[in-house]
């Protein structure tokens, strides 16, 4: 069984760190992070053409991560595949020993680096969860029986700061009904918003990983210019503190802020675990983990 699942079910506060699959075939840098952190974190997360920017296949990267001694959490996006490809990639992932999945709709193609590509979205994230659940039950989406059903630990995204929230909550319930076993949020900077969101969680316990992110200089500049348009908000005083600083200083301050957030989330039990985003850099991850006492 997946370590991520065991840790979550044991209530032992798993830590997932997000890697950046390379734009190219050189995987050494990505795997160096795995080698350095394999003993300290629960799993390594592999985004699938994140922000619609083409990168090395997440499933392949995930397999390499496992070979390098880490556990992988593979993202799979509906944007780039029709249902045949989604299903065969899911089976392919299972055959490579990949169990943890994060099933997402995917950022739209025009926002990425191949804006003229054809967007697929044959399924949406809810339907993809149903498809994966069906595979686990031994049949594909056409109802045909499989030889050897895969075992998955199914993750989905939920947006605590969605505005308006009710449509997002409906989708959240659908994802639960479709078979999601854990949820990951986008980056959270304002814990009050997370606390308020937790009031909407259903009675039955839902495993929630909250993302904690180290902002880059470009993002800080964007926010300082009033151009911030993301599904998570940045507290104005954080932006004021970071604006205009040197890129490495911004990262260093971001690491401190991130470790504080992680500590608080853990202490207050605001989540069952954390999902760290820090440019895929070992040094930043290590500092966060150390400062947060993990």
């Amino acid at each position: 069984m997946s370590k991520l699942r065991e840790t979550l079910e044991a209530g032992a506060f798993p830590v997932v760190v997000e890697l950046k699959p390379p734009k190219g075939a050189g995987v050494d840098e990505m795997l160096a992070v795995v080698k350095a952190l394999a003993g300290r974190v629960t799993a390594f997360s592999l985004p699938d053409n994140e922000h619609a920017r083409m990168r090395l296949a997440a499933v392949a990267a995930a397999r390499l991560v496992q070979e390098a001694g880490g556990e992988a959490l593979v993202h799979l996006t509906c944007r780039d595949r029709n249902r045949l490809a989604l299903e065969s990639d899911l089976l392919g992932a299972a055959s490579l020993g990949l169990e943890n999945l994060l099933l997402v709709s995917g950022d739209y193609v025009t926002l990425g680096d191949h804006p003229q590509a054809k967007p697929v979205y044959d399924a949406d994230s809810v339907q993809l969860l149903q498809i994966a659940r069906g595979l686990m039950d031994g049949h594909d989406s056409a109802g045909l029986a499989l030889t050897g059903a895969p075992a998955f630990f199914l993750g989905a995204v939920v947006i605590p700061e969605a505005e308006p929230l009710p449509p997002q909550l409906i989708k959240f319930e659908k994802k639960l009904a479709a078979g999601a076993q854990f949820f990951i949020t986008p980056a959270v900077f304002d814990l009050d918003k997370l606390r308020r969101f937790r009031e909407h969680l259903p009675e039955t316990p839902v495993k929630l990983l909250v993302s904690v992110k180290v902002l880059g200089a470009d993002e800080v500049a964007q926010a300082a210019a009033g151009q911030w348009r993301k599904v998570y908000s940045l507290p104005p005083n954080l932006v004021n503190d970071l604006a205009g600083k040197e890129p490495e200083d911004i990262l260093a301050m971001g690491v401190k802020a991130a470790s504080r957030l992680v500590q608080q989330i853990k202490q207050e039990k605001l989540a069952d675990g954390v999902y760290l985003k820090a440019k895929g850099r070992t040094d930043l991850f290590t500092k966060i983990l150390e400062a947060a006492g993990l």
Binding site: D107, I159, P167, Q168, I170
Partner: protein
């Protein structure tokens, strides 16, 4: 109706470069309403071509005619006698009209003068927005009369994606998130329960092109007795 945009003039001019005598055929229905290929636009294109070639001291003889609907054989057939004198035909109809005209006038090359863009609505004069993707499986009864297939760029059937910010679309912040609109409309109508059920995967087999529809009353005529 079908919305179209006129092709850039340079593209049309280049297509017609080899010919000395052409017929421009407008269409009096959708493309006339969206000011892309009706009688008026036929006149404008003809005049523009005459001027442009005149500037280069060349001559092009241009015939102008507009039929009510180029996608309808009844209106198109009388045109056939008329085309014989010309070397090439320019259709200002949507892609359907161009192809139908092309099928009928088999001896002439037929060129499109517009790019067909979408099925949409006429918000105000000159301002058109897409409203239907002709998906063969209408969800509007469930989704409060707002189409998730068309109005959501991702065509998501089960709620908003994670990119919605303040009720705005991830892809175009100028636009309201289709799923927010659907939610608010159903809330207003007291029909939010419509959204509880997960909509299944879309039956894309029905959208295999080219589609054919035979009205049930005409099945016998077209040899489709069951």
């Amino acid at each position: 109706m079908i919305i179209a945009e006129r092709k850039p003039f340079a593209e049309i001019k280049a297509m017609l470069a080899p010919y000395k005598k052409i017929l421009i055929v407008g269409c009096g229905t959708c493309v006339a309403v969206c000011l892309a290929g009706g009688e008026k636009e036929v006149g404008l294109l003809a005049s523009q071509l005459k001027l442009a070639l005149g500037v280069e001291d060349k001559h092009l003889e241009i015939g102008e005619i507009t039929v009510e609907r180029q996608c309808d054989l009844e209106f198109l057939r009388p045109l056939c006698d008329f085309t014989a004198d010309y070397e090439a035909i320019v259709s200002m109809a949507c892609g359907a009209g161009v192809q139908f005209l092309n099928q009928l006038c088999s001896l002439h090359p037929v060129f499109p003068a517009v790019n067909t863009t979408f099925i949409g609505v006429n918000n105000e004069v000159g301002y058109y927005t897409e409203a239907c993707r002709a998906c063969h499986n209408c969800y509007l009864g469930i989704t409060g009369g707002i189409c998730p297939v068309t109005m959501c760029p991702k065509g998501l059937l089960n709620g908003p994606c994670g990119g919605m910010v303040n009720g705005r679309c991830e892809v175009d912040p100028e636009k309201e998130c289709a799923w927010c609109r659907i939610y608010h409309r159903l809330e207003l109508e007291g029909r939010l329960d419509n959204l509880r059920e997960i909509l299944p995967l879309h039956p894309h087999d029905r959208t295999t092109t080219p589609g054919t529809v035979i009205h049930p009353a005409y099945k016998r005529r077209y040899g489709l007795n069951e």
